[in-house]
Subunit: 143 residues, 2 copies
């Protein structure tokens, strides 16, 4: 009887160990971007802008967030500034980025942009096709 | 005489003020990616891999670095792990990402990948075209 008890106990310990290991196990997350949930950006002063959070806290990234934005023809983001920086890579189409002095610079696929913390900026799409870009930021909630 | 001295003094102060303002001014950096310096990655265990630092400390980004990698046909990165995470977006072609268990997963344009800190990983290109991806990391030197 005692032998059975000891056997069952060790079995439970083994199962538990496997569970603990499974929890600690790190596994890369692979997204098909088009399948990541897309939401309309509803910020004041923003129109025609959709966002996908490709990589962020929800899938384990604690420090950095990678978002994918689509600006429809005629769309624009709010002209604003904030304490976090933007690392942008243009993924498709073309658009206008407005700097703090109001200069309008045309950018298209194959361009990248660094927007400093606290720098005024805006993205606009006055063209006929979607303007798509990745925008990377630090995890703001962690600051 | 005293009037002239006061005038010159105020002029110098104005010039100085302009200089201080110019120094504090933040201005976005816009890159044409193809014009950013490209270097061969010479890490042990890596072959056929080229890197462009699109955005990093050299152009003012203190916390996050955005790199653009090109893996030639037959190329691969070292199978390794490190304490920083990877936020990857595939920009062109297709390739294989190997996870910690040795699983080989095919990825192509329109996929994104999150590699956890300390997770074993490798990128391979067994195909006929270049495999291109953005890989974002925290600024390691700041850790």
């Amino acid at each position: 009887m005692e032998r059975w008890f000891s056997l069952i106990k060790s079995l439970f310990e083994k199962i538990n160990l496997v569970k603990i290991k499974a929890k600690k196990r790190k596994n890369m997350r692979i997204n098909r971007n088009s399948e990541v949930k897309e939401v309309e950006v509803t910020l004041k002063g923003t129109t025609g802008m959709r966002k996908r959070v490709l990589i962020g806290p929800d899938n384990g990234s604690k420090n950095i967030v990678m978002r994918y934005f689509t600006l429809s023809p005629g769309g624009y983001s709010e002209r604003h500034s904030h304490s976090h920086e933007h690392l942008v890579n243009i993924e498709g189409g073309k658009g206008i980025v407005v700097d703090k002095d109001g200069n309008e610079i045309e950018v298209s696929e194959g361009y990248s942009i660094f927007v400093e913390p606290d720098e005024l900026h805006q993205f606009q799409n006055p063209f006929e096709d979607n303007f798509e870009f990745i925008c990377v930021i630090p995890n703001i909630d962690k600051r």
